[in-house]
């Protein structure tokens, strides 16, 4: 018996499933004391989600949110990576953009959402611009640190062996930046999620955030729950099936890498 138990406690997936089961069970027990409109049980919410997808247009709203997220994310990540490398290598640009980045980090994200609504009205820009502007300083700071931490002894090695500049960038610099890129990507992605829903609540007429706001105005907690859970499921899916897989591929040379 203890052997079975040991096997279970060492199996990460099994423990994770167990943990979620406990959470759902607790939720169910608490929900027994309330009406479904205020605090619905798991099964009730599950049915609502199915209904939102089959009878409503949940897929459409989810799709809109994902597209906005990706556009803003790639713009912010691209700008941030470029600036991060530049500020890490060149001292002048480090100082020049350093202060701008600090201001960017301090700027309340909600302000961008409000301002873009004032400027553009109901437009996709209301999502793209805040995501980009909030993500890029975060990415810049992280990539700048990564660029500064480059192991110069490996670059010297490549130079001694007369490797051309492009070969050094591809095989030495980029792999050394990889841990920073991956870590930043995850953090930036989760930040982008939060921002996109906020902007949708404020200034857009579609997307997960818009639906959350819609059901909030109807004061229908069960649907708010349902949409929040749709959101969480997608985030977990992206984490487990995209980021973890990329990590495994990129860092397979690390013997201790167990994710």
């Amino acid at each position: 018996m203890s052997k079975v138990l040991e096997k279970f406690t060492n199996n990460r997936l099994a423990v994770e499933i167990f943990s979620i089961a406990v959470l759902i069970l607790a939720w169910w027990v608490i929900s027994l004391n309330f009406t479904p409109r205020i605090l619905p049980g798991p099964l009730f919410v599950f049915n609502l989600i199915i209904q939102d997808f089959t009878e409503g247009n949940a897929a459409y709203h989810l799709g809109r949110t994902l597209i906005r997220l990706l556009v803003g994310f790639f713009a912010g990540f691209g700008i941030g990576t470029g600036l991060g490398v530049l500020t890490g290598i060149k001292r002048f640009w480090g100082n020049f953009f350093g202060i701008i980045v600090t201001i960017g980090l301090a700027f309340p994200s909600l302000v961008w959402a409000v301002l873009t609504v004032c400027w553009f009205g109901v437009s996709e820009m209301v999502a793209y611009i805040p995501i980009t502007l909030i993500i890029f300083p975060i990415v810049t700071v992280n990539i700048r640190e990564g660029t500064k931490a480059v192991d110069k002894s490996l670059v010297d090695m490549a130079k001694v062996f007369r490797i051309k500049k492009l070969g050094i960038i591809r095989r030495v610099y980029i792999p050394m930046l990889m841990p920073y890129l991956m870590g930043t990507m995850r953090f930036a992605f989760s930040t982008a999620w939060k921002i996109v829903t906020v902007t949708e609540i404020f200034g857009l007429t579609s997307g997960v955030g818009y639906m959350l706001a819609y059901w909030y105005h109807e004061l229908y907690a069960a649907q708010v729950f349902a949409w929040a859970i749709i959101f969480v499921i997608v985030v977990i899916f992206i984490e487990k099936f995209i980021f973890v897989q990329i990590d495994k591929k990129v860092f397979k040379w690390r013997p201790e890498a167990k994710l």
């Binding site: 002894s153 130079k159 062996f161 070969g167 095989r171 040379w253 690390r254 013997p255």
Partner: protein, 269 residues
């Protein structure tokens, strides 16, 4: 050659090399002071000196990584870094300096990508040098899966792969345990004899220098210059525990002590 009379060009010839550094206060001081040395083709030459005497700087200068103030460095008879000097320099560093994200074989072919050796030959060459350093079977492993000794073998294989005019070695065994280091020293001599490569080896280990070298240059820390050249005339294969090797070591140690007490402190016996 002209009637066979012309002397064979040396693998490396350094003449009156001087290099200065500026410290924080802007004061200049000499890190290399009028250094001259020569490594003939197929020769195993060591530079022996205490830590901090500028041995690594010497190798970095020869390899072109660091500039120098005056003097001449000829690799294969031509100045380093000059146009048309296709001299290939293999370098085995103190730490293996492998790219941990590439397999053993890829680490070796990466060095080949800096040469004009056609790509079709890379795999074959990599296989050959992997065999020479005794690493068959781990071609597709990643460096971090290997022990320190094996990583240093990969580093040696990488240096051999480019068919170098000279291999520079910077205390390559100093980070290894003594048993592994001893084994690698013996194997290094085998590889050297098999491949007929020229080696310039830097060390602070007296017995290592005497065991490996045809010729030893002794370097002091203050001033940072070569004060003596010694030719080890012992036949190979040598035995580390041989009395005459130990006698040579004793003699050289006395020279260091005479030169200056400070230099002798940093020499391991």
């Amino acid at each position: 050659m002209n009637g066979g009379k012309e002397k064979m060009t040396a693998a490396i010839e350094v003449k009156n090399l001087t290099k200065t550094f500026k410290n924080m206060e802007g004061k200049t001081f000499k890190v290399l002071d009028n250094i001259s040395l020569k490594v003939e083709k197929e020769e195993f030459v060591s530079v022996l000196g205490p830590s901090g005497c500028g041995k690594s700087t010497l190798l970095n200068t020869i390899s072109g990584l660091e500039p120098f103030d005056s003097g001449v460095i000829l690799v294969n008879g031509k100045p380093v870094g000059s146009n048309g000097n296709e001299a290939r320099i293999g370098y085995v560093f103190q730490n293996p300096r492998l790219l941990n994200w590439m397999t053993v074989e890829k680490n070796i072919t990466y060095a080949l990508s800096g040469t004009d050796i056609p790509k079709e030959q890379w795999k074959g060459i990599a296989q050959d040098v992997i065999k020479i350093v005794g690493l068959r079977g781990v071609e597709n492993s990643y460096p971090l899966q290997l022990s320190g000794g094996m990583q240093q073998r990969v580093s040696i294989a990488r240096a051999l792969a480019i068919k170098p005019d000279i291999i520079l070695m910077d205390e390559p065994f100093s980070h290894l345990d003594e048993i592994t280091a001893e084994k690698l020293r013996e194997e290094l001599l085998d590889m050297w004899q098999k491949t007929k490569v020229s080696i310039l080896f830097v060390t602070h280990d007296m017995s290592e220098a005497v065991f490996l070298s045809d010729k030893i240059y002794m370097m002091s820390a203050k001033p940072t210059t070569i004060f003596m050249e010694y030719r080890v005339k012992m036949k190979r294969p040598r035995n580390k525990l041989d009395g005459s090797l130990l006698k040579i070591e004793k003699k050289l140690m006395e020279k260091f002590q005479k030169k200056c007490a400070f230099s002798a402190e940093g020499i391991a016996v």
